[in-house]
C-alpha cells in the first residue's frame, strides 16, 4: 500500500465512523419521533442558536473562563510545588501522605464545603474547585519528571558551577517538561469535568448550569445541546493542547527517535 493511499484511508476512517454514527442516530430519532431524543440536526441548530449566539456571553464565556483560570492555576501551582518536592527527599516524605489523601477524596464530596470555606458561590469558588482537583496530575507528574532526571546532567551542571536557580530554570524544568505536559493533558480533561460539576451546584451561569436546569425542567433540547457542546469543547481543547505540545516538545520527539534505548 502506498503511503498516500494509506493516509487517505486513515483520514477516511477518522471521518467515516463518526459520520455513520451520526447517521444512525439521525435515522433512529426520525423513526422514534420522541421529544426526549431530538434529531441531531435539531440539536446542532440549538447549539448554534443558543450557545454561539443568544447565550454565548451568558453561559459559554463563564465556563471557558473557569476552565482556563482553574487549569492555569493548577499548572502554575503544580509545577511550582512539584519541582522542589522532586528535588527533596525530605520534602517528599513530608508532603506525599497529604497529596495522596486529598487526591483520594471524590470531588463531589468537597463541593458543598468549598462554598462555606471560600464564602463564595461565584467564580472564586468554581475556579478554586477546578484548580484544586486539576493540580494533582500536574503535581505528581512534575515530581516524577524531576526525580527521573539523568544524573549526568546534574553532574554536568555542578561541575560547571551553574547556580541553583539557573540549574532549575535551564536544566531541571526543561528535562521534566515532557512529563509535565503528560500531567497537563490529564488535568485539562479533568478541568472540563470539574467545570460541569462545579456549575451543578449553587450556580447561575455556565454550560453545566444549563444542562442541570434543562434536565430538571424536562427541556430536552437545551439539555442535549449542552451535552454536545461539552463534548466538542473537551475535544477541541485536547486538540489545541496537542498542537502546543507538538511545538514545545519538538526536541523531545526528535531526541527519542535519535536515541536508541
Amino acid at each position: 500500500m502506498s503511503p498516500r493511499v494509506y493516509r487517505t484511508l486513515k483520514i477516511g476512517a477518522e471521518i467515516t465512523v463518526p459520520f455513520l454514527m451520526l447517521l444512525a442516530w439521525w435515522l433512529y430519532t426520525v423513526q422514534r419521533d420522541d421529544p426526549k431524543f431530538p434529531r441531531p440536526t435539531t440539536i446542532v441548530a440549538e447549539v448554534r442558536n443558543r450557545f454561539f449566539f443568544a447565550e454565548f456571553d451568558l453561559h459559554v464565556v463563564p465556563s471557558l473562563e473557569r476552565i482556563g483560570l482553574g487549569f492555569a492555576i493548577a499548572v502554575g501551582l503544580g509545577v511550582a510545588i512539584g519541582i522542589p518536592l522532586g528535588l527533596s527527599r525530605i520534602g517528599r516524605s513530608a508532603a506525599m501522605p497529604h497529596i495522596e489523601y486529598w487526591r483520594a477524596i471524590p470531588p463531589p464530596a468537597l463541593l458543598p464545603i468549598s462554598i462555606i470555606l471560600l464564602h463564595s458561590i461565584g467564580n472564586t469558588q468554581k475556579v478554586s474547585f477546578i484548580a484544586f482537583f486539576c493540580i494533582f496530575p500536574v503535581l505528581l507528574n512534575t515530581i516524577d519528571g524531576v526525580r527521573a532526571i539523568e544524573p549526568t546532567l546534574i553532574d554536568t551542571a555542578r561541575s560547571f558551577r551553574i547556580p541553583a536557580h539557573e540549574r532549575i530554570r535551564r536544566i531541571v524544568f526543561p528535562a521534566a517538561l515532557p512529563q509535565i505536559f503528560a500531567g497537563m493533558r490529564t488535568s485539562l480533561a479533568l478541568a472540563v469535568i470539574m467545570m460541569v460539576l462545579s456549575e451543578y451546584f449553587a450556580s447561575t451561569s455556565g454550560v453545566g448550569y444549563v444542562l442541570l436546569i434543562s434536565k430538571n425542567t424536562f427541556q430536552f433540547l437545551p439539555m442535549w445541546a449542552a451535552i454536545v457542546l461539552i463534548g466538542v469543547l473537551g475535544y477541541l481543547l485536547n486538540a489545541l493542547f496537542l498542537l502546543v505540545e507538538r511545538h514545545v516538545l519538538a526536541w523531545h520527539r526528535g531526541w527519542r527517535a535519535a536515541t536508541p534505548r
Binding site: 554536568t156 558551577r161 535519535a258
Partner: protein, 269 residues
C-alpha cells in the same frame, strides 16, 4: 598544579561497604597531559569524580594550585563519557556551549566569541543551530569538548571520553584533543581503559591497580611531538611503552580474577 594526596573513597558502611579507591597519590604539572589507566572496574570514574569535587573523598585531599578542592573548582572543566547524557537535548549546539558561560560575568559579545572560538576549534561552526541528537556520536563528543573549552578552564578532566565512538572517529578525536591542548594551553587529566590511547596521548601514564585502586606505576612517555597516528605508533619506543603498560594492567586483571571471582558492583561504569 594538581596534587592528589592519599585519596581514598569508600561507598556505604559495614558489610555492604565498597572500597573503591584505596590510597592514590600523584601530581600533574602545569601544561602536562596525564593519562590514568587501570583495569576495568578499578574505580577510575570514582577517582575522577573525587578530583573534580563532585564526590567527597573518604580520606586524603586534592590540591589545585595549593588550594584544597571541596567542590567543583572554577578553573576545571569536565568531559563525560556519555555525551548523549551530558548534552542537553532541548538546547541547540550553540546554547549547550553557552550554558556554562551564562552565569559568568561576561559581555554578550565576549560570550558569543567564546562560543564561536570553541566550536571553531572542534570544527563544528556550521552546526551551531542543530540539536546535539541530530549529530553523530563523534560530533556530539566534540560539542562536549567545545563546551568545556568555552568555559576557559586551566585544567580539563576527561572521563573515558572516546569509549563509545568507533575506532576511526576515536583517532580523529585523540588528535583533536592534542591540537586544542596546544591551542588553548590547558593541562589535561585523561582517564581511559585503552592502553594504546593512554600512551599515544600523554606525557605521563599513571597505571592503577585493581579495586580498591592504588597507583601501580607512573610511566614517563618520551615520545616525540607532535604525535601522529601512524608515525608515532610505528616507533619502537611506542611498542615498548605499550607492552610495559599492558603487562602492568594485565597482571592486575589476573590478580583481580583470582582474588575476586565475583566482580564487585557499583565501583565504576
Amino acid at each position: 598544579m594538581l596534587e592528589i594526596k592519599n585519596l581514598s573513597k569508600t561507598y556505604g558502611t559495614g558489610a555492604t561497604a565498597t572500597h573503591a579507591v584505596g590510597n592514590v597519590s600523584f601530581s600533574i604539572e602545569e601544561g602536562e597531559f596525564v593519562c590514568v589507566v587501570g583495569p576495568s572496574g578499578c574505580g577510575k570514574t570514582t577517582l575522577l569524580k573525587c578530583i573534580a569535587g563532585l564526590l567527597r573523598p573518604s580520606a586524603g585531599e586534592v590540591l589545585l594550585r595549593g588550594g584544597r578542592v571541596t567542590g567543583p573548582p572554577e578553573q576545571m572543566a569536565l568531559v563525560f563519557q556519555e555525551y548523549s547524557r551530558s548534552l542537553m537535548p532541548w538546547m541547540s549546539v550553540r546554547n549547550n556551549v553557552l550554558l556554562p558561560l551564562r552565569h559568568k560575568k561576561l559581555s554578550r559579545a565576549e560570550r558569543r566569541s567564546l562560543v564561536e572560538d570553541a566550536l571553531r576549534a572542534v570544527g563544528l561552526v556550521g552546526f551551531m543551530d542543530r540539536y546535539p541528537w541530530q549529530l553523530s556520536g563523534g560530533m556530539q563528543q566534540r560539542v562536549a569538548i567545545a563546551r568545556a573549552l568555552a568555559y576557559q578552564p586551566q585544567i580539563l578532566l576527561m572521563d573515558e571520553p572516546f569509549a563509545s565512538v568507533d575506532a576511526q572517529t576515536r583517532g580523529d578525536l585523540e588528535d583533536l584533543v592534542l591540537q586544542v591542548r596546544d591551542e588553548f594551553g590547558i593541562t589535561i587529566l585523561f582517564v581511559t581503559h585503552d592502553i594504546d590511547e593512554s600512551v599515544y596521548l600523554s606525557d605521563r601514564v599513571v597505571a592503577l591497580t585493581h579495586a580498591p585502586t592504588e597507583v601501580k606505576e607512573v610511566i614517563p612517555v618520551a615520545l616525540p611531538k607532535p604525535r601522529d597516528q601512524i608515525a608515532t605508533k610505528e616507533l619502537a619506543e611506542f611498542a615498548r611503552l605499550r607492552a610495559h603498560v599492558y603487562r602492568l594492567i594485565k597482571r592486575e586483571q589476573d590478580i583481580e580474577d583470582v582474588e575476586r571471582p565475583v566482580p564487585v558492583s557499583g565501583t565504576s561504569v
